[in-house]
């Protein structure tokens, strides 16, 4: 998103005042809501996911759906890959074709035409996918406990994320959706009965009549459990580093904000994605390039361009990670609160403000 230098300046100034353009402080997230329940008309179902044909699902959205991300988790039993015979698999795919102005600012702001735009979209999706793959997936679940029968059957969790709309910080939203989706997933208890001789079974094929290997699936949904270790699934906090060239000595001030809006993202000189798990452990750090502001800012402020490039001083990194860890703590608390609300007091809450929020905002059509 192109943004004028004076807008950027206002945003950075606001962040320096610790009073951002929508009134938040630097480390505050917007009020994300988590939907893991079906829509209010079908609360009677016992399933805890909002998509009925998935094993688990979630929806992360902001008021007015300025960010709206759906996640669906499908589980099936597959044969593990030969180099990791006793580990389950988590696969991710991200679809953001429905989100128009989503910008991770990896390429230039060019493009425009049909094929170029499509290619850009694919690039964007694959970047989100690969980042999630690196930042979240390795810590998402306990892979070894997803194996039913090592070498033969393991769980494969296919996580499909659809970004319907996003107003900044798409990675954070995707990670939230993924975490909540995985948490709402229920896997039936499956045990493998392997009393046949291994060699024959694998030679002929699983469903060959000669094998008497079998899978026993516990049919009771109450016995189904979420995938093991899912509580440790990390969240991603993207810290935007805003740099303001200030002061007579040409000193550059850096300020970190979390959960940046699109406008704030556009004037961040660099962005750092930090994945933090529940215990506050940092699981991964990745630096994204900055917005498209660099050269123009230098012009605008008379060549004070120290540090106004898509990089940041190395001693900033610790600051950034600390910021992220602190913000992540709040985010976990917020999501837990949300989850509690949507799980436990769902009915109560619906009765409470049917006239208000439910009718007004949940099913609104945004006209763009």
């Amino acid at each position: 998103m192109a943004i004028s230098p004076t807008e950027a300046h206002y945003i950075i100034e606001s962040a320096l005042h610790d009073f951002r353009i929508d009134g938040r402080s630097r480390l505050e997230h917007r009020p994300y809501s988590v939907g893991t329940r079906p829509s209010t008309t079908t609360t009677a179902t016992s399933s805890s996911s909002c998509l009925i044909l998935s094993n688990g699902s979630s929806r992360i959205h902001l008021p007015g759906s300025s960010t709206d991300i759906l996640c669906s988790v499908k589980a099936d039993l597959v044969r593990p890959s030969p180099n990791k015979p006793n580990e389950g698999v988590v696969e991710i795919s991200v679809d953001s074709s429905l989100a128009g102005g989503l910008d991770l600012s990896l390429g230039g702001a060019g493009g425009g035409g049909g094929t170029a735009a499509k290619r850009q979209l694919r690039e964007r999706e694959s970047q989100i996918t690969s980042l999630l793959q690196r930042l979240v997936v390795p810590h998402a679940v306990h892979y070894r406990e997803l194996a039913i029968c090592p070498g033969k059957y393991v769980w494969r969790l296919s996580v499909d994320i659809v970004v319907l709309r996003c107003d900044g910080c798409v990675l954070d939203g995707c990670a939230m959706a993924m975490r909540e989706g995985l948490r709402s997933t229920l896997l039936p208890r499956v045990s493998a009965v392997m009393n046949g001789e291994e060699g024959v079974a694998s030679g002929v094929g699983d469903h060959g009549g000669s094998s008497n290997n079998d899978l026993i699936v516990e049919g009771d949904v109450r016995m189904a459990l979420p995938p093991p270790g899912v509580e440790d699934c990390p969240l991603v906090v993207t810290v935007g580093v805003l740099s303001a060239p200030m002061g007579a000595g040409g000193r550059v001030r850096h300020v970190c904000v979390v959960d940046a809006r699109t406008e704030e993202e556009a004037c961040a000189s660099s962005r750092v994605c930090v994945s933090v798990d529940r215990k506050g452990m940092v699981c991964g750090v990745h630096t994204l390039g900055g917005g498209g502001m660099e050269n123009r800012m230098e012009d605008e402020f008379g060549g004070l361009g120290l540090g106004i490039s898509s990089s940041m001083p190395v001693n900033m990194l610790g600051d950034v990670v600390n910021t992220a860890a602190g913000a992540a703590k709040n985010l976990y608390e917020m999501l837990d609160r949300e989850k509690e609300l949507s799980d436990g007091k769902d009915l109560v809450r619906d009765d409470h403000d049917t006239s208000g929020y439910g009718n007004l905002l949940k099913s609104q059509l945004l006209i763009r």
Binding site: L102, A109, G112, E263, L361
Partner: protein
């Protein structure tokens, strides 16, 4: 038949039914589609399931056409629905079937069976010109300009002695369909701006080369629609002292239909800062910019662009103007243009104080609240929301929480 004029209809509402086999009843206009009257309803118009008033007159506007399942028999699902965006040329396409022969059995069925009805596909008012019935949408998703409209737009291109102005305030490659680009872009010709200094002369090639010194890509500006071309392209101008580049403030966007046309689009919202919070902190003194004098009026200026862009900035304090006049004592007859330019420059270079910042953020969030509940955005409604939030003691950042949105917009919603 005249009762249909200026009547508000909802999507799916039956506008007219024609029994004549010769198809002489009506012509399909924009915002409508034609559906065959199903046989059971055709035979028995008083069918209790059909309260659509589908009689032979044009008076039927009570009910909605029933949705039928997709799997019904073929003659039950003869819904002829064409794109809303095709030109005006096909309004008369119902009486030459040869043109539609490629459309398959829908068209064939349309020719075969007589009774049809016309159904609104958008919400809006009915307009009728002879046989042609169309529905003018009351809340168009796309802004269609009229001469004199105030636009808050963003420059997205410079070239060909004109600036391209995005009406959605968004960058050019936002993934939206390129087909409607003429609806999302305006043109600001070089001849439509005031040259710096306010001199009036023919634009030269030097001016063309210096275009970026006026507006560059990404800059926000206010301008006015000078002309609407036949294809819908807007020609803009900034030849007034009120228009020009926007600096040191916040932009927010809303659906264009929420901003109504009014007498004045430069409005001031008064009393946005609660009295106990006006302690501006000034610990950023190592600034290249001047620090505000501390004279806070508690007012915020809002520019309501009809294209849905809304610009919010502080109100320029009146004492600035006075001080300007004081310093220019020797030539107090300085032209107004110069004064305004100086004020604007001072505004751009003066830091916004913390309390003004809070006021701006509060107004911004109030507008966001109004957008979320789909209320018209007028100075009055903004003021109501701001006042309510102040009275209830809602902090600025909490204004966008769902429970508070409902609470503080209550007064505007019930109006």
């Amino acid at each position: 038949m005249d009762s249909l004029k200026n009547h508000f209809v909802l999507p799916g509402q039956v506008l007219a039914t024609s029994h004549s086999e010769t198809q002489g009843g009506f012509l399909r206009g924009h915002g409508t589609y034609i559906e065959l009257v199903p046989h059971d309803q055709h035979d028995n118009d008083d069918d209790p399931r059909d309260n659509a008033g589908g009689s032979s007159s044009l008076g039927g506007m009570a009910g909605t056409s029933k949705k039928r399942g997709w799997g019904n028999s073929s003659d039950q699902s003869n819904v002829v629905m064409r794109s809303e965006h095709d030109g005006g040329g096909d309004n008369d396409d119902d009486d030459d079937g040869s043109k539609q022969s490629g459309e398959g059995e829908d068209a064939a069925a349309l020719l075969r069976v007589g009774p049809q009805r016309l159904i609104a596909s958008v919400a809006g008012t009915v307009q009728r010109v002879n046989k042609l019935i169309s529905v003018i949408p009351s809340a168009p998703a796309v802004y269609t300009g009229q001469v004199g409209d105030l636009i808050v737009g963003r420059i997205i291109g410079v070239g060909g002695s004109r600036w391209r102005v995005s009406l959605t305030c968004s960058p050019p490659s936002s993934g939206s369909s390129s087909s409607s680009s003429s609806m999302r872009e305006g043109q600001l010709p070089l001849s439509g701006v005031n040259l710096p200094g306010g001199v009036q002369r023919i634009r030269t090639s030097e001016d063309v080369l210096a275009m970026r010194s006026l507006y560059r890509e990404g800059d926000l500006l206010t301008c006015e629609v000078q002309n609407v071309q036949k294809d819908g392209t807007l020609i803009l101008h900034t030849r007034s002292l009120r228009y020009g580049k926007l600096e040191n403030g916040v932009l927010t966007t809303v659906p264009p239909s929420l901003v109504g046309r009014r007498k004045n689009h430069f409005v001031t919202i008064k009393g946005v800062i609660s009295s106990e919070e006006t302690n501006g902190d000034k610990h950023h003194d190592d600034s290249v910019m001047d620090v505000d004098d501390g004279e806070e009026s508690g007012n915020v200026d809002v520019y309501l662009g009809l294209n849905g862009g809304i610009w919010i900035q502080r109100t320029i304090p009146p004492q600035w103007e006075n001080s300007l006049h004081g310093s220019l004592d020797q030539d107090s007859r300085a032209p107004l243009a110069e004064t305004l330019q100086k004020l604007r420059q001072r505004h751009a270079n003066t830091r916004v104080s913390a309390s003004a910042r809070e006021g701006i953020a509060r107004v911004r969030n109030a507008i966001d609240c109004l957008r979320l509940v789909h209320c018209q955005i007028t100075p009055e409604s903004i003021e109501i929301v701001v006042k309510t939030s102040l009275r209830e003691g809602v902090r600025v950042k909490d204004m966008l929480r769902p429970e508070f949105i409902v609470k503080i917009t209550e007064a505007t919603r019930s109006r």
